[in-house]
C-alpha cells in the first residue's frame, strides 16, 4: 500500500530556508498510523493532523536533498520544458528511491520513490514489501497526468487551485493507496473517466 503521495518544490523558495521545501499537494492514504494498536498514547485529531503534516514535511526535505545530490552528481544541465512538452519533461526527469528508516518519519520502514521534473518532485511513499516496479510505473503515469491536466509546465497555480483533479486521478489510479495492475485497456477506461471529470 502507498502511504502518501506528495508534490513539492525542489527549487530554492525565497521565503524558506535553503534545504526546505514547499508542499503543494499532499494526500495520505488509509487511517493515520497513530491509530495503530500498541501506540503509547492516543492523540487528538488535531495532534494527529499536525504530526502527519510534519512527517510529510520531513519526507519532502529528505527528497529535496536526495534530488539535489543526484542532480549535482550527474552534472546534467536542467532543460526547461514548455507546455506541450510533457513527455519530454518526463523523459528528462530524474528518478530515484530512498529508504526511510523506521521512525524517520513513519513508525515502520518505508521506501520513498521520487520523480523530479524540473523544479517540482512527485513522491510516493510505499511500504517496504510493495512491488516497486509497479509503483514506479504508477508514479510516472500519475506525474504525466498531473503535468498534463494541471498544466504544470506553465507558470500557473492550478496545482493549488484545482487539487480536486488530483484527488479524482488518485481515486482511479491509486484508490486509497492501492497500486493496481492495469493493462492498457483497463488504464484507458479509467483515464477516460478522469478526462471526463477534468473537462467539466
Amino acid at each position: 500500500m502507498v502511504r502518501c503521495f506528495l508534490i513539492h518544490t525542489v527549487c530554492p523558495v525565497p521565503a524558506l530556508g535553503p534545504g526546505e521545501s514547499r508542499v503543494l499537494y499532499s494526500r495520505v492514504f488509509g487511517p493515520d498510523e497513530s491509530v495503530l494498536p500498541g501506540q503509547q498514547r492516543q492523540l487528538s485529531p488535531e495532534e494527529r493532523r499536525l504530526l502527519s503534516a510534519e512527517k510529510l514535511a520531513v519526507v519532502a526535505r529528505q527528497v529535496r536533498s536526495a534530488v539535489s545530490l543526484c542532480r549535482e552528481a550527474s552534472g546534467r544541465l536542467l532543460v526547461e520544458a514548455v507546455p506541450g512538452e510533457e513527455a519530454l519533461a518526463l523523459q528528462e526527469a530524474d528518478g530515484g528511491v530512498m529508504r526511510l528508516r523506521a521512525g524517520d518519519p513513519f513508525s515502520e520502514e518505508t521506501s520513498a520513490l521520487w520523480l523530479a521534473v524540473q523544479s517540482l518532485a512527485f513522491v510516493m511513499v510505499c511500504e517496504p514489501h510493495e512491488n516497486l516496479l509497479l509503483a514506479e510505473g504508477t508514479l510516472r503515469n500519475l506525474s504525466r497526468h498531473c503535468l498534463e491536466h494541471l498544466h504544470m509546465l506553465a507558470p500557473g497555480s492550478e496545482v493549488l487551485l484545482k487539487s480536486n483533479r488530483i484527488d479524482v486521478l488518485l481515486s482511479r489510479l491509486l484508490p486509497h493507496g492501492q497500486l493496481l495492475f492495469l493493462n492498457h485497456r483497463f488504464a484507458q477506461s479509467l483515464e477516460k473517466e478522469v478526462s471526463a471529470y477534468m473537462s467539466k
Partner: protein, 812 residues
C-alpha cells in the same frame, strides 16, 4: 513551474484574517444552500481547501458549514463528493458526530478512513464493508463495489485484528470467485462496463491475450477486451491486494494443528502424482494447461482454497508474461506481474511447503528464460529470494543465481538506483540466511561497494546496516584498503561509463587526462584491480600513489566528493566491528595499515583530514584495549613518530601516536618493554621536539600545532619517569624552553596564549620531575588507579561504607 503566483497564494491562505475568513464561511454557506453546484461554489470550495491545507494548524469550521459539506458527500455529482471530502479531511469532525456517514462512494470512504481515531472506528468500517460485500446489491454505479477492496487493504495494513474469522472466510471465498471464475467473455460497451447494453445482436466475444491471440484460460490482469464486466474489474482489484492478504493470513493464522498436518500429507501426495505426469506440459506450453492440471481443490477449506487458486493464478501470469505484448506499457506490466507472481508463490510456499515441488519447475524455467537479459534484473531478485527460501528443500543448485546477484548485477548495473535499492534491501532482509547458505557473500564486498561508490548518499544507509556482516578476519585488511579507496573506485566507475560512451578516436586535447590513463594499457592493471568482483587477489596495489596522481582531477567531481563523504562513517563502523572479531595479530596489522595509508589517500579537500581524525580515534581505542600492541609495533610507531615532517602533514595522527607511545610504552603494560626501548623512543621524540622548537617551520608549512608540542613534552616526561636516567635531559630541555620564551616571541609559535600554555606545562613537568618517585606514580600510574573498581571492591564499596556509618550513628 513554481511561480511567485503560487507562493503568494499560499502566503495569503496562511495569513488570512479571522474576520475575512468568517465572511468567507458565511458566503460559502449561502452558496451551498443553492440546488446546483455552480462554478462559483466550486471555486470557493477549492479556495477553502487551500486555506485549510496551507497550514499545519487545524482550523475549525462553523458547524452549519460542516453539516452542509457532509450532505454534499452523498451527492450524486462526483465533484461535490471530491471537494467536500477533501475539505472535511483537513478539519476536525464535529464533536459528537459519529462515524455514521456510509461509504457509498469512494470519497466518503476516504473521509471515514482519515477520521478514524481508534480501532473501534476501524472495526465498524470493516463491518460496514463486509455487509455491503455480502449483500452485493447491484444498484448504483458499477464501481460502487470496487473501492471496497482498496479500503479493506488500507485497514489491513494498520490493524488486521479488525477482521473476524467469518470476515476472513467470506473474503477468501469472494477472492477465489473473482480471481479464478471471472467472466471470460468481453464486457460490452466501454465506459459503463457492466452487462450487455445496447445491441443484443452482438455475439459475446472471448477475452484476448496481450499479443492479440484469443485467451484459452481464465481471466487475469494480463487479459484484454473491448470493455470489462464487473467481476473482471474485481479480478484486477483482487489480484492487486492478493499478496498483502496472503501475508496477513500468515500472521493471523495460528500454529499448525494435527488437522493441518493431515492436509499437508494429502496435498503432498496429490501434487507428487501430478508433478511427475504433467511437468512437461506445464513448461513452455503455449496454451495454458494450468487449470487442467490443478488438483481438485473443492475439498479444501477457504484459506487453503484461496492459496491454491492464488498459486494457479500466478502460474498463469508467468506463462502469459512470455507473450510479446503489443504495447510498451503492457510489457512493463508483464514485468511487474512477474515480480508479484514470484513473490506470491514464495509466500505461499513458505506457508505450505508441499507446494515447493510444484512451484520450482516453473520458477526454474523462468530463471532460465530471464537470466541472460539484464533488463529483467529486477524480476530476478524475487526469484533469488525464492531460491534462498526454498532451494535447500528442493535440493536445487543455486550457484548460478548467486553469481548473477553478487557478480553480474553490481558490475553491470551499479548505476541503476532502483536495482541498487532492491538488491541491498534483499541483502539486508536475508543477512543471516545469506551468511549461512552463500559463503561467497563476504568475499563480494569489492563488487557490492560499487553501489556505494556510484551513489553514496542514496545507499550509505543500507551499508551502515550491511557493513558489519562483511567484516571478517580473513578480509578485514583488504576491506579497510577498499574503503579508503572508495573515492578512487567512484572516479573509476565514472571513467568506465564515459569510456563506453565516448568514441576512442575523439582526442585532440579535449578528453580528460584521467580518461586517457584509464584507457592506456600501462595503467590498466590499476583500474582493473579497483573494479575487481571478489576479494582475495591482494590487499591493495603497490602503485597506489601513481593511481592517486592519475585521478587528481577527479578530486572535485561531485560524485567522487559525495562518495568521499560517506567513507568516515563507514570506517567507524568497520573499526567498531573489527574490534569484536579480531585477534591481536590482526589489530596490529590494522594499526600498520593506518600508519601507512595516512599519507596514501586521494587528495580531496577535507577528506584526508577526516580520515586522519577517524584513524586517530581508533588508534587510541585499539591501544587502550590492548596496550601491549604498542610494544609490539614499537618499531613502526617510532619510525612514524621520528619523522619530523609528520608534525606538519599529519598533525592529528602524529599527536595520537606520540600520546600512545608515551602512555603505553611501559613495563606495566608489557613486560617486554626494556630500558633500551624506552631510551630509543625517548631519543626519537626528543630529536623531533628539538627540531621543531629551534627553528622556523619549513617553507609552506604553518607553525606546528601547540598540541603536538605539549604531547611531545608529556610523552618525554612520562618516558623519563620510567627510566630515571633520562630525567636530567628532559629537565634541561624544559628549562631552556622557559628561558627562550622569556624573550617574548618565538619563531615556532605565533600565538601568545599558546606559548604561555606550553611554557606553563613545561614548568609543571619540570617541577614534577624534580621528585622522580612522585613523577612515576603521577605519570605512570599503576593499573588499579587508572581503572578503579571501588564500587566492586568489597573493602571500599560505597554501600559498605554507608552501612558502617549508619550503624555507627544509630548505635542504639
Amino acid at each position: 513551474m513554481y511561480s511567485h503566483g503560487s507562493e503568494s497564494l499560499i502566503k495569503q491562505a496562511r495569513e488570512i484574517q479571522e474576520s475575512e475568513l468568517q465572511k468567507f464561511y458565511s458566503r460559502l454557506i449561502k452558496l451551498l444552500q443553492g440546488k446546483e453546484l455552480s462554478h462559483e461554489t466550486i471555486d470557493c470550495l477549492q479556495r477553502l481547501h487551500l486555506i485549510l491545507s496551507a497550514t499545519k494548524y487545524t482550523r475549525i469550521l462553523p458547524a452549519e458549514l460542516q453539516r452542509s459539506l457532509l450532505s454534499l458527500l452523498s451527492s450524486s455529482v462526483e465533484q461535490s463528493q471530491v471537494l467536500s471530502s477533501a475539505v472535511l479531511r483537513e478539519t476536525l469532525p464535529l464533536s459528537g458526530q459519529e462515524v455514521n456517514c456510509s461509504q457509498e462512494n469512494t470519497h466518503a470512504a476516504a473521509l471515514l478512513l482519515s477520521q478514524a481515531g481508534s480501532r473501534e472506528d476501524l472495526s465498524s468500517i470493516c463491518s460496514q464493508l463486509f455487509h455491503s460485500l455480502e449483500s452485493r446489491a447491484s444498484e448504483g454505479p458499477t464501481h460502487s463495489l470496487t473501492h471496497t477492496l482498496p479500503v479493506l487493504n488500507a485497514i489491513l495494513t494498520h490493524s488486521s485484528e479488525c477482521l473476524s474469522e467469518d470476515h476472513m472466510t467470506l473474503l477468501s471465498k469472494k477472492l477465489v470467485d473473482w480471481l479464478r471464475y471471472a467472466s471470460i467473455m468481453q464486457g460490452g460497451g466501454a465506459s459503463s462496463g457492466g452487462f450487455f447494453t445496447g445491441s443484443r445482436s452482438r455475439q459475446p466475444v472471448p477475452i484476448a491475450e496481450l499479443d492479440g491471440s484469443v485467451s484459452g484460460d481464465f481471466f487475469t490482469v494480463l487479459c484484454v477486451g473491448q470493455g470489462f464486466t464487473e467481476d473482471q474489474w474485481m479480478n484486477v482489484y483482487s489480484f492487486s491486494m492478493l499478496r498483502h492478504w496472503l501475508l496477513t493470513f500468515h500472521s493471523v493464522s495460528n500454529g499448525a494443528t494435527a488437522d493441518n498436518v493431515n492436509k499437508l500429507q494429502l496435498s503432498l501426495s496429490l501434487s507428487h502424482s501430478l508433478s511427475t505426469d504433467d511437468r512437461s506440459e506445464v513448461d513452455g506450453s503455449v496454451v495454458s494447461m494450468v487449470s487442467a492440471t490443478s488438483s481438485s481443490s473443492r475439498l479444501l477449506p477457504p484459506k487453503e482454497r484461496l492459496r491454491e487458486k492464488a498459486f494457479q493464478y500466478c502460474q498463469r501470469l508467468i506463462e502469459q508474461s512470455d507473450r510479446k505484448a503489443q504495447k510498451r506499457t503492457d510489457t512493463e506490466l508483464q514485468k511487474a506481474c512477474l515480480v508479484e507472481a514470484v513473490c506470491i508463490l514464495d509466500s505461499v510456499c513458505v506457508e505450505d511447503a508441499s507446494l515447493v515441488f510444484r512451484a520450482f519447475p516453473c520458477i526454474k524455467a523462468l530463471f532460465g528464460r530471464l537470466s541472460s537479459d539484464l533488463s529483467f534484473a529486477r524480476v530476478l531478485l524475487p526469484i533469488a529470494q525464492f531460491y534462498l527460501n526454498h532451494g535447500e528443500m528442493a535440493a536445487v543448485d543455486c550457484d548460478c543465481v548467486w553469481k548473477l546477484v553478487f557478480a553480474r548485477f553490481p558490475t553491470e548495473l551499479f548505476n541503476n538506483p532502483f536495482l541498487a535499492h532492491e538488491l541491498l534491501r534483499f541483502l539486508r532482509l536475508n543477512l543471516e540466511n545469506l551468511q549461512l547458505r552463500v559463503p561467497e557473500y563476504t568475499r563480494c564486498f569489492p563488487n557490492l561497494l560499487k553501489f556505494l561508490a556510484w551513489d553514496g548518499p542514496a545507499v550509505v544507509d543500507d551499508f551502515v546496516d550491511l557493513l558489519p556482516s562483511l567484516v571478517t578476519t580473513g578480509t578485514a585488511v583488504e576491506l579497510l584498503h577498499t574503503l579508503l579507496d572508495l573515492p578512487c573506485l567512484s572516479a573509476t566507475l565514472v571513467l568506465q561509463l564515459r569510456s563506453m560512451s565516448l568514441p576512442i578516436s575523439e582526442s585532440g586535447g579535449r578528453s580528460l587526462p584521467s580518461l586517457d590513463a584509464f584507457r592506456s594499457p600501462s595503467f590498466r592493471g590499476l583500474f582493473l584491480f579497483l573494479l575487481r568482483e571478489e576479494s582475495g587477489s591482494g590487499e591493495t596495489i603497490e602503485r597506489l600513489s601513481t593511481l592517486h596522481e592519475l585521478l587528481t582531477e577527479a578530486a572535485d567531481w561531485p560524485r567522487v566528493v559525495q562518495c568521499a563523504q560517506t567513507v568516515p562513517v563507514l570506517l567507524h563502523i568497520f573499526f567498531n566491528t573489527v574490534i569484536k572479531v579480531a585477534d591481536k595479530k590482526l589489530l596490529a596489522q590494522l594499526i600498520l595499515v593506518q600508519l601507512e595509508r595516512s599519507s596514501l589517500l586521494l587528495n580531496i579537500p577535507k577528506y584526508i583530514k577526516e580520515i586522519h581524525r577517524v584513524f586517530s580515534c581508533h588508534l587510541l581505542r585499539l591501544c587502550k584495549l590492548h596496550p601491549s600492541l604498542v610494544v609490539d609495533q614499537s618499531h613502526e610507531l617510532l619510525e612514524f613518530a621520528g619523522a619530523t615532517a609528520h608534525v606538519y602533514t599529519k598533525e592529528e595522527i602524529y599527536t595520537h601516536v606520540v600520546w600512545v607511545l608515551g602512555e603505553y610504552l611501559s613495563v606495566s603494560c608489557d613486560s617486554r618493554c626494556s630500558v633500551t626501548l624506552i631510551t630509543s623512543c625517548f631519543e626519537a621524540l626528543e630529536a623531533v621536539l628539538f627540531e621543531i622548537t629551534s627553528s622556523a617551520p619549513p617553507p609552506g608549512a604553518g607553525c606546528p600545532a601547540p598540541r603536538v608540542i605539549t604531547a611531545l613534552m608529556s610523552a618525554l616526561a612520562k618516558l623519563a619517569s620510567r627510566s630515571h636516567d633520562l630525567i636530567p635531559r628532559v629537565s634541561l630541555f624544559l628549562s631552556k624552553l622557559r628561558n627562550v620564551s622569556r624573550d617574548g616571541s618565538v619563531v615556532w609559535c605565533t600565538d601568545e596564549d599558546d606559548l604561555v600554555a606550553i611554557v606553563t606545562l613545561g614548568e609543571e613537568l619540570w617541577s614534577l620531575l624534580k621528585t622522580p618517585g612522585v613523577a612515576q606514580s603521577v605519570l605512570t600510574p599503576p593499573p588499579h588507579i587508572t581503572t578503579p573498581q571501588w564500587h566492586r571492591d568489597t573493602n571500599v564499596a560505597m554501600p559498605l561504607q554507608l552501612r558502617a556509618l549508619t550503624s555507627l550513628t544509630h548505635s542504639q
